[in-house]
């Protein structure tokens, strides 16, 4: 009996289903919000329905779909590279670096540069500096090891967290509040130009990550295992860390450091669908985006007219869910 048809069926079925859920979220969630929108008014391009749908809710939903997908994909990638189901891009310092960059510009009171929000620039610069430091720190005996990346990343994470606290303490009351608000992470309406840039970067980086799916499978087992099956381990780890960091930095710049999506979604897909990265990576992207868009929608309808940040909704749903998943696991399958 061949197992090929079964594998293909599972792959096809889960991918198609994930894509359907993703597209459904893109089409339906913009219609959900504190105020109702009339389809007929939108079709006639009548204000304010047309404006609310197109300029506010649709761009916001698309941002959540792209950023959630990127965060989830980066989480899946880092968990494979570090062989740890609890590893996240937050463990590796990138998001702390991006956060520190953004927090620094908020603390300085810088708002825009050539029309670009300074928090974006700060986050990208912060992430890039951390990327260079971590790669440099993990480089030992002409090679990069996952262990080196993990240790250096954790050290940088702690240093960045300390600087964030210091900056927040000296920033004054209103700026300190802005920093705290930014650090929770939220999805806001954004321009379609920014969305197009983010979508282009995320799509191309995700495609590069996906094209190496078999190598992530091998690295998820072990470095010797991967090396003896044709992987150039050092360069693959450096490549993965850089690609994951670009995804993280791009998303965090626009949304702030939203946690949990990169932990829960890979875990969910791995336990319910497959741990094979050829299936896991695309499903994690599609379902990660859907989950963040859903949380953002819940956040804007639960206590109208006020809104809960998507990051807070995600943590409130994700935390208990993660505990429940861990309790469901058999003892031999501990994380």
């Amino acid at each position: 009996m061949s197992t090929t048809p079964q594998l293909s069926f599972v792959a096809r079925y889960s991918l198609v289903l994930s894509l359907a859920v993703f597209l459904a979220a893109a089409l339906l969630l913009p219609w959900v919000g504190a105020g109702s929108i009339s389809l007929s008014r939108v079709l006639r391009r009548q204000e304010p329905d047309y404006e609310i749908l197109l300029q506010l809710r649709l761009s916001r939903t698309l941002l959540a779909l792209i950023a959630g997908g990127a965060l989830s994909l980066a989480g899946t990638l880092f968990q494979a590279m570090l062989r740890d189901a609890l590893a996240t891009p937050y463990t590796l310092g990138i998001s702390a670096g991006a956060s520190l960059g953004a927090v620094a510009v908020i603390a300085m009171g810088w708002e825009t540069f050539l029309g670009i929000p300074m928090t974006w620039i700060g986050a990208l610069v912060g992430a890039f500096i951390v990327l260079i430091i971590v790669i440099g720190g993990a480089f030992r005996q002409r090679q990069i090891s996952a262990f080196g990346l993990l240790l250096t990343g954790m050290a940088i994470n702690s240093i960045c967290a300390a600087f964030i606290l210091i900056l927040s303490g000296f920033a004054g009351l209103s700026r300190s509040f802005s920093i705290a608000r930014w650090l929770i992470g939220s999805i806001d309406a954004t321009s379609y130009t920014s969305l197009a840039v983010l979508a282009t970067v995320v799509t191309s980086v995700s495609a590069m990550i996906l094209s190496q799916a078999r190598n992530w499978n091998l690295l998820a087992v072990g470095e010797r295992w991967a090396a003896s099956r044709g992987v150039r381990v050092g360069s693959m780890l450096a490549q993965g860390y850089m690609l994951g960091s670009i995804l993280m930095a791009g998303s965090i710049a626009l949304t702030g450091p939203i946690g949990f999506v990169e932990l829960i979604v890979p875990h969910l897909v791995r336990s319910r669908i497959s741990s094979d990265h050829r299936i896991l990576l695309p499903c994690a992207f599609l379902l990660g985006g859907t989950l963040l868009a859903l949380c953002d929608t819940i956040g804007r309808i639960v206590i109208p007219p006020a809104e809960l940040p998507a990051g807070a909704v995600l943590a409130l749903i994700g935390g208990p869910y993660l505990v429940w998943i861990i309790r469901q696991r058999a003892p031999a399958e501990e994380i």
Binding site: T3, R83, V221, G222, R224, W225, A227, R229, R278, E333
Partner: protein, 255 residues
């Protein structure tokens, strides 16, 4: 017979601690070598170097007539498979997915072909791991995991098999079966090198013993001559004795 492997003057150190100091040996197609030695004698390091995972500080490794550094990584993986001493498979791959990874160096297609699946099934059947192919690797016992890992090496269908303690965690029946499978691979024209602490398995199934001590190959003897030259045994323990089984195979016991 073709010379598949030439290790010439290979040295390696972890920091200031020298592990290998000018190791030399050659191995041919059809041989099954037992790499034996005390703990920390450098067996795993030597296998790492031969597999290309570590670079030697001095010396060279020639595989099928080509220097190791002239091989591309993937090309090397089609030629040499390596079973590490331990892996940390925390992610819940199924047994079949792990064995399937042995086919990666041979194909560019997104999923395994029918031919790949034939190799996977044959390898798993040979190590008696096919019945639990759908189970998560994490949920398997130590012995079941080891059989899966050996199957992954077999599925790679390489000319040279490097196995670091392949019989670890296996019950006696499975230890015998594992070494018997490796001997069959050698008889089919491959080169198998197994690092092991089980001298009797080595004497029963292997064609040659490489004894690593003090960073060099202290003894390189044919298994059939192991009984006549007992000095190699003293490297392990003064309490060891060697005799022969009724069928004539050398056999070690301790007093």
């Amino acid at each position: 017979m073709n010379c598949l492997l030439e290790v010439d003057g290979v040295s390696f150190a972890y920091g200031s601690r020298s592990v290998l100091d000018s190791v030399n040996f050659r191995a041919e197609q059809g041989e099954f070598l037992a790499l034996i030695g005390m703990n920390g004698s450098g067996k795993s390091t030597l296998l790492d170097i031969v597999s290309g995972f570590r670079r030697p500080e001095a010396g060279s490794v020639v595989v099928s007539g080509r220097r190791q550094e002239d091989w591309k990584r993937r090309e090397m993986a089609q030629h040499i498979s390596h079973l590490p001493q331990s892996i940390h498979a925390d992610l819940p791959f199924t047994a079949e997915q792990l064995v399937g990874m042995g086919r990666y160096p041979h194909t560019d297609s997104w999923f395994e072909s029918e031919e790949d699946h034939r190799h996977i099934r044959t390898a798993m059947e040979r190590t008696s791991s096919w019945p639990y192919r759908h189970r998560s690797f994490q949920a398997l016992s130590g012995g079941e995991r080891q059989r899966v890992l050996v199957a992954a090496c077999l599925a790679q269908n390489a000319a040279v098999l490097l196995l670091d303690e392949p019989s670890t965690f296996l019950d006696i029946e499975q230890q015998l079966h594992c070494f018997s499978v490796l001997r069959d691979e050698a008889l089919a024209g491959k080169l198998c090198i197994a690092a092991t602490h089980d001298l009797n398995l080595a004497l029963t199934y292997c064609t040659r013993l490489l004894v690593l001590a003090n960073g060099v190959i202290a003894w390189d003897i044919q298994t059939v001559e192991a009984h006549d030259n007992k000095a190699w045994l003293e490297l392990f323990s003064k309490r060891l004795q060697i005799g022969k089984t009724p069928s004539g195979t050398p056999w070690v016991w301790y007093q």
